[in-house]
C-alpha cells in the first residue's frame, strides 16, 4: 500500500535555490529598489471607488417616505420612523440598523427618488450595539445626493389631470408611437387616454396638443425593479380619501367623478361624489394605498396587507 514513492528521487540540495532566488529578488525590490506593497492602514488609506457600498445617507428632501427600501431589505434591517421636521412637517423616514445590514445596496437601487445613497465610509464599528441603529436623523445628509454622479436615468412622462380632460382624443391622434389609447372609464360613460409606458419616448407632443392643459410632463426616475401596481375598483370606492392621504408619491387625487351623482327625489341630479383617481405613471408601487383602503377598492397582487 505504499503509494507515496515519488517519481523522481530526491536530491540532497534539491532546487532550494530557485525559490530563494525569487524571494531574494523580492527583497531587492522591496528594500532597495522600492517600498513594500503594504498600505499602513490607519495612517494611509486606499481610495475607494464611488460605487463603494458603505454607510447610508438619506436626503430628507428627496425622500418621500414610500418604504420601498424597507420592503426590499433582505435582512429586515430598515424601519420607518415617524418624526416631525420644522421644515417638512410630519414625515416618515427610514432608519438603518447597521449591525444587521449586509450592504447589498438594494435600498439604493429601489429608491424611486434616489434619496438613499451609500457613501464610501466603512469604519462603522462601535462597542455598543445600539449605536449601530441609525435613525433617520443620524442618516440625514441633504447635500450628499447632489455631489455624486447619478447613474439612474430620468424619464419624463405625460401625466393626466382627469378633471380637466374632455376625452377629445387629440393626444391619441398626435402620438407618433401610437401608445395612447382612449379607454372608457367604467361606470362613468366617459373616456380618458391611457398611455403605454413601455412605448412612450417622452416626445411631449401630446402635452402640446392638449387644449385643456390636462396633460403635463413630469420627470420620474426609471425603476430597476418591476413594482406591483394598484388596481382600482371604482364601484367599491366610498371617497374617503384615505388612499390619497397615504400615497407618498402624490399619485392619487380626489375628484368629483361624474356619473356618481345621487338621483334626488325631484329627478334632478345631486352633487357628484368624490372618487380617487390614480396616476400610475408616478406610482412607486409601495402598497400604502392598498393598506390604507378599508373598503377593498384597491387590489395589489403580491403585497401583504
Amino acid at each position: 500500500m505504499v503509494l507515496t514513492a515519488s517519481k523522481k528521487k530526491p536530491s540532497t540540495l534539491g532546487f532550494v535555490l530557485r525559490p530563494m532566488r525569487r524571494t531574494g529578488a523580492q527583497v531587492y525590490s522591496s528594500l532597495i529598489a522600492g517600498k513594500p506593497n503594504t498600505v499602513l492602514y490607519p495612517y494611509q488609506k486606499l481610495d475607494l471607488p464611488p460605487t463603494y457600498r458603505g454607510k447610508h445617507t438619506l436626503d430628507f428632501k428627496r425622500c418621500i417616505g414610500c418604504s420601498n427600501c424597507v420592503q426590499i431589505c433582505p435582512n429586515d434591517c430598515m424601519w420607518m420612523e415617524k418624526l416631525e421636521d420644522p421644515e417638512l412637517g410630519k414625515i416618515e423616514r427610514p432608519g438603518v440598523d447597521l449591525g444587521r445590514c449586509l450592504f447589498c445596496g438594494f435600498c439604493v437601487e429601489i429608491c424611486p427618488t434616489v434619496a438613499i445613497h451609500e457613501t464610501v465610509e466603512f469604519e462603522l464599528a462601535d462597542q455598543d450595539r445600539s449605536k449601530l441603529r441609525l435613525g433617520p436623523k443620524e442618516l440625514r445628509d441633504d447635500k450628499y445626493a447632489d455631489t455624486v454622479k447619478e447613474e439612474r436615468q430620468k424619464r419624463s412622462l405625460p401625466v393626466l389631470d382627469l378633471s380637466k380632460c374632455t376625452g377629445c382624443e387629440k393626444c391619441a391622434g398626435e402620438c407618433p408611437e401610437m401608445c395612447i389609447a382612449m379607454m372608457p372609464i367604467e361606470g362613468v360613460g366617459k373616456q380618458k387616454p391611457e398611455i403605454n409606458l413601455s412605448k412612450c419616448t417622452s416626445c411631449g407632443k401630446c402635452v402640446i396638443v392638449c387644449s385643456e392643459k390636462a396633460l403635463t410632463m413630469t420627470e420620474v426616475y426609471e425603476s430597476y425593479f418591476e413594482m406591483p401596481e394598484p388596481k382600482f375598483i371604482l364601484k367599491n370606492c366610498t371617497g374617503c380619501s384615505a388612499c390619497a392621504k397615504a400615497c407618498p408619491a402624490d399619485c392619487i387625487y380626489m375628484m368629483d367623478m361624474p356619473g356618481t351623482e345621487k338621483v334626488l327625489k325631484d329627478g334632478k341630479k345631486g352633487k357628484p361624489k368624490k372618487r380617487a383617481v390614480f396616476v400610475l405613471e408616478k406610482c412607486v408601487g409601495c402598497g400604502k394605498c392598498f393598506r390604507a383602503c378599508k373598503f377593498e377598492s384597491i387590489e395589489m397582487a403580491g403585497v401583504k396587507r
Binding site: 515519488s6 530563494m20 524571494t23 531574494g24 513594500p36
Partner: protein, 375 residues
Amino acid sequence: MNLFEFCYGIIHWLVDLVNHLWYWLGDHLPRVFGDFFNWAGDLAVSHGNIALFAILAEAVIMFVIALVNVLNFIWIDRKWMGRMFDFYGPYYVGYRIGGWLQNLADGIKLFVKEIITPAKVDKLGFLIAPVILVSSSVLALSTIPFSPRFGVFTSDLDTGVPAGLLIAFAFFAIAPFSILIAGWSSNNKYTLIGGMRSAAQMMSYEIPLLLCVASVFLLSGSFGFLGVVNAQHDIWFVIPLFLGFIVFITCLAAEVEIQPFDLPEAEAELVEGWTTEYGGFRFGLFMMTSYLRGYVGGALATALFLGGWQGPSIIPDEFWFLIKAYLVFLIIEWMRWSNMRIRVDQILNIGWKRLMPLAMLNLLIAAAFKTMGWF
C-alpha cells in the same frame, strides 16, 4: 585582559568591600563569633572561591547578552521576512528604532497571559520540558566565546572552556529529549506525533552534523573554540570543506527545526506540533529557545567554518563574530521563508541516504588534507 580577569577583579573588589565588615565584626564581637567572621572573610577571599564567583558572573553576563541577542534575532528575522514577503515587518512599536520594541511588547504579552496546565497532562514532564530545553540551549551558548578575550573562561589563561565545542554539541543534542518529553506528557495525539517526529529527525540529523564537526576537529587538531578558530588563521575551513559546510548548514536547519525541516511543529497538519498544549509564557520560552538555538547554530557554524572572530581589525573581533553568526542565521532564515515543508519519510531519506554519505565523504576529504600535511 579577558572577561575572566575583568570579572575576577570586580568580584575581588566586592569581596574586599564586604570583608571589611566581616573583619570589623570579627574584631568587635566576642571571641567565638569573631573567629567565625574572620574565617568567613578568609574563605571568601581565597582564590578558588573568587574564581567560582567570577565564572558565575561571566555566565550571567553571557546570558544577558544571549537574551539581547535573541531580541535582535527575532527583530532581524521579522524585518528580513517582512521585506521578503513584501511588507514592512514590525513598524510602530519603537518607531524610531525600526520597530525593535515589538519583540519586547510581544514578550510582555506572552508573560502576562494565564499559564494553563491542561488537566490530563503528566504534570512533571509538562513542567520540566521547557526548563530542560531552555537550560540546555543556554548552556550550549555559554561555551561559545565571542573573541579570545570575551567568553566564559575558567582561568586567566586564554584557553576558554576545554573541549568547548564538544560540550556545546553535547548540550545542543539534549533538545530532542525535552521535545519528546513535552510531546509525550501533553497527552495529545498531535503532540505525540510531533515529539516522535522530532526525536526521529534530530537523532538522524545529529550524525551527519557531528561527522562534519569531526572533519573540522581533524583539520584543526583541537576540541576547543580557541584552537579551532586559531587553526583558521590562514584559510577558513569553509574553503577546503565546502561540502561539509553545506551539509552542516542543512543539518543545522533540521536541528533547529526551521522551514524545510520543521515537521515536528508543522502547523498545517499537526496544529502546532509538540507545542500545541503549551500557552502563554511557556510557549514564549519555546519560541525564544528556537531563536536561541538558531543563534547557537549560527555561532557554531561561524566558529567551525567561517574563521570565527577573525577579520580585518577595523571593527572589534566580537562584532566580527556576531556579524558572521547573523549572516549564517539570515541565510538559514532565507531558506526557511522561501521553502515548503517536506514529508517525514522524505526527511529521513534525505538524512540517511544523502547527507550521511556526503558527510562521510567530507570526512575523507579532511583526512586526505591532513595526510597530505596541508593543515
